[in-house]
Symmetry: C2
Amino acid sequence: NPRIIAMASQKGGTGKTTTALNLGALLAEMGYKTLLIDMDPQANLTMGLGLDKVNSAPSIYEVLLNPRHGLDIALQTTGISNLDIVPSKLGLAGAEIELAVTPERQKILKNSMVSITGLYDFVIIDTPPSLGLYTQNAMVATREVIVPLQVHVFALKAIQQLQKTLTVLRNKHNPKLHISGVVCTMYDSRNSLSRVIADTIKEDLGDVVFDTKIPMNIALAEAPAAGQPISMYAPNSAGAIAYRKFANEVLKV
Amino acid sequence: NPRIIAMASQKGGTGKTTTALNLGALLAEMGYKTLLIDMDPQANLTMGLGLDKVNSAPSIYEVLLNPRHGLDIALQTTGISNLDIVPSKLGLAGAEIELAVTPERQKILKNSMVSITGLYDFVIIDTPPSLGLYTQNAMVATREVIVPLQVHVFALKAIQQLQKTLTVLRNKHNPKLHISGVVCTMYDSRNSLSRVIADTIKEDLGDVVFDTKIPMNIALAEAPAAGQPISMYAPNSAGAIAYRKFANEVLKV
Ligand SMILES: Nc1ncnc2c1ncn2[C@@H]1O[C@H](COP(=O)(O)OP(=O)(O)OP(=O)(O)O)[C@@H](O)[C@H]1O
Ligand SMILES: Nc1ncnc2c1ncn2[C@@H]1O[C@H](COP(=O)(O)OP(=O)(O)OP(=O)(O)O)[C@@H](O)[C@H]1O
Ligand SMILES: [Mg+2]
Ligand SMILES: [Mg+2]
C-alpha cells in the first residue's frame, strides 16, 4: 500500500510544487517507486518536469470528470527512473465547477486510486493555492498532509484556516487525515524576518515542524526551466542539500 | 466615475496583495479618494491593514451572497486618510460554491457597485490566486486588469492562461476589459534569472509592461505585520520608492 502525501497550502507561492517535485524525485532516486499527481489547473508540477507538451494523452482531467476511470489510465513515465506522473493540463480550471455537482465529488481521486494499488511505494500529490475541490480531493485521498509555509508574516494564520478544512474532511470522510509535517520554505538567513517567523512557527506548532528549512536558493527557481528536479539540475546547491535532508526527515516520520 | 483596477494573477505569491495595498495607499496619499476591495477568502489585504479583527460588520461576503445588497453596506474606513476598504473575512471560501448556482453569478460585484457611484476616484480590487468566480467577478466589474508577475520561469505561461479567461469574459460581459499593465515583481538584481525573465516578459508583451520593476525588499514583507502600507512603514525603502514610481506610472496609463 503506498504511503500517500498531499502538499497543501492555500497561500500562494509557498513552495508546494517545488517541494512535491523535489521530494518525489529524491524518493525515486533512493529507489522508491514514486508517483506524482498534479491536481493543479496551472500544471506547474507537470511543466517543471518538461512534460507539458500538447498531446492527447489522458490527464488528471479525464480521471476527475469520469469517476468510472481509474487513475491508471493517466499514468505517464517522466524520464526519471522510478518516477511516474499523472499530469495536469492547462484548462483543468473549468472542471471545478463541473465537479461541483457530482455526488461524492470530494472522493473522486480516492476512488480512482484503487486501480493503482500495489504499483507504488509513495504517491505525492500537488495542489492549487485554494481550499476548493481539487485540494479537498487530495486531502480525502491521503492520510498525511505536508504544509510548506513561506517564512512570512501570515504563515500561521494560513495554517489555522487550513486546519479547519482538514477537520471538516476528517469528520466527514477520512478519520486518519492529519498534518504530518510543516516545512519552512524560502528561508532567507540574511534577514531577521525569516528567523523570527520560523521561531514563531516552531513555538506554535512544535514537533510537527520539520527541522529542515528550505533556503532561498535561485537554483530552485531555475531548475523548472530545465525541466529537471534540483537533484539533477544542481546536485550540490543549497537547495538540493536541503531537499535531500528533508526527504530523509520525511522517511523518518 | 471611478477608475476601477483589478489585480489578477492565478499564480500564487506574485505580489497581487502587496501591489493592491501599496498602490491604493499611495493614491490615497496623493489625494485620490480610493476604495480597496478584498475579493480573496484569505483576506490578506484586510490583514495587511490590521483590519481583520473579529466583528460583525458586513464584509464582501454579505455583498456577494445577497445580490440585493449594494457594496455600500460593507464600506469601512482604514484609518488612512482617503482610503476605504470593503474587507474580506476568512470563511469566504464557502461562498464560491454557493455563488456557483446563482444566475448572473459573474456580475454580482459589478451590480453591487452601482451604490458607490461618485464616491471614489479609484477602486482597486485584490483577487485570489485562481481564475474562479471571485476573480471573474472582479474582471467583469472593471475595464482594466493589472497583472503582477514574479520574474520566475513560468510567468509568461501564466499570463497566457489568464488572457484566455479575459477573452471569454470580454466576449460575454465586458467588451472594454483589457490588461492595462503587467508589473514585474520580486525582482532580485543579484541574480541573472530576474534579468533574463524580465527581458523575456518585455520582449513578449511590449508596451503593456510597466517600466517600474518592484525589487525584492524585505520591508515589503514586514509591513503587513505592522498593519501598514510601505509608504508609512518604511517610506525610504527600495520597496516604497518603487511603488511610488509605479503609482505615478499607473496615473499616466
Ligand atoms: N527555496 C526557494 N528558493 C528560490 N526560489 C524558490 C524556492 N522555492 C520555490 N521557489 C520558486 O518560487 C516560486 C513559487 O514556488 P512554487 O511554485 O513551488 O510555490 P507554490 O506554493 O507551488 O505556488 P502556487 O501557490 O502558485 O501553486 C517558483 O517560481 C519557484 O521556482
Ligand atoms: N517585492 C517584495 N519583496 C519582498 N517580499 C515581498 C515582495 N512582494 C511581496 N512580498 C511578500 O511575498 C509574499 C507574497 O506576496 P503577496 O501576498 O503580495 O502575493 P499574492 O500574489 O497576493 O499571493 P496570493 O497568490 O497568495 O494572493 C508576501 O508575504 C509579501 O509580503
Ligand atoms: Mg504550485
Ligand atoms: Mg494575495
